[in-house]
Symmetry: C2
Subunit: 158 residues, 2 copies
DNA sequence: CAAAAGTAGTTATGGTCAATAACTATTATT
DNA sequence: AATAATAGTTATTGACCATAACTACTTTTG
């Protein structure tokens, strides 16, 4: 990395130089993430869901009977942090949590009818909110972006 | 959005279906972000810097005399949250904060020699850490990724 | 079989980051 | 001169993530 070259002295109205940070991939990824996340967050809020909670609900809907441990591993969140989310989902009767007969340490998570309904509506709203952020990209470009992102994630897989 | 189709009942060792979330761009962006961020974070920690603090230092190095307000606007962080970071940078004598004569509400931020040196070393380490996460992508693909991300950010600009 | 080790879930706690409101000091507006 | 706007600050809160320590249960193994 070359030493930084400050512009003698920057007055108040100078064009501001983002410099090093804008050259970092992480910074650019974060900026795009913020755009998508805040849109998704707003959409999810309509259903009194936060994004991590929605993600849990979504995986439970698709995998009836999944255990909290498997859910945590999939979403890469700590089991301890999962507890409060599942608590909330259970309290709101969106998800049921029943102890397994075969192994009483484990619990089976299943979405209730209410849970599925809410999920499907929220998923639609979140997808729509995201789509509004992605109008600048053609469908093919979105696929391309997805592939590139997944290769970063995949190259660092455990 | 089509209604979700659960797989009858998922046993313990079933392949888990990530379902809806993996189809959301925000989820994929976040996953890639986590990879890059944790690598950058580790690198920055070697210099006792967290990423937001490094970003501040970096912009100050490139824009001597920048005001806290301009810095906050550029990095899209709240001025109130900036204060503690600049406090720390000043305490560590990486940055100087001097009141302007012309407008005594404003402060000029400048990196010290120590600040510039630390910045350049940290920037190199962070860039190297990022590069290690990006080996799966050719240079051209990295440029492509950057362009796509910036178009998302740009399309939502104020 | 009993002891030890491992697994699943939980509780409590702390750290980072982001967001807001309320405040002081200073400058600009009318 | 009174009012409004701007720059910086303080205090507080909430979301999210990570860790350690714990209970309950199951598996391993001597």
């Amino acid at each position: 990395m070359p030493p930084s070259k400050p512009s003698t002295t920057s007055a108040a109205t100078d064009p501001v130089d983002e410099g090093v940070v804008r050259g970092l991939m992480g910074y650019n990824v974060k900026r795009a993430y913020i755009v998508l996340h805040s849109a998704a967050q707003q959409a999810a809020a309509e259903f009194d869901l936060r994004i991590p909670t929605f993600s849990c609900l979504s995986v439970i809907v698709r995998n009836p009977g999944i255990t909290p441990s498997a859910l945590a591993e999939l979403l890469k969140i700590e089991r301890s942090n999962l507890v409060v989310m599942v608590d909330e989902l259970e309290t709101r009767e969106l998800v049921s949590r029943t102890q397994m007969k075969t192994d009483r340490r484990r619990f089976e998570l299943k979405a209730t009818v209410r849970g599925r309904r809410l999920h499907d509506k929220a998923a639609g709203a979140i997808a729509a909110a995201e789509a509004a952020c992605l109008t600048a990209l053609e469908d093919g470009e979105q696929q391309q972006l997805l592939a590139l992102l997944n290769r970063i994630e995949g190259s660092m897989a455990d």
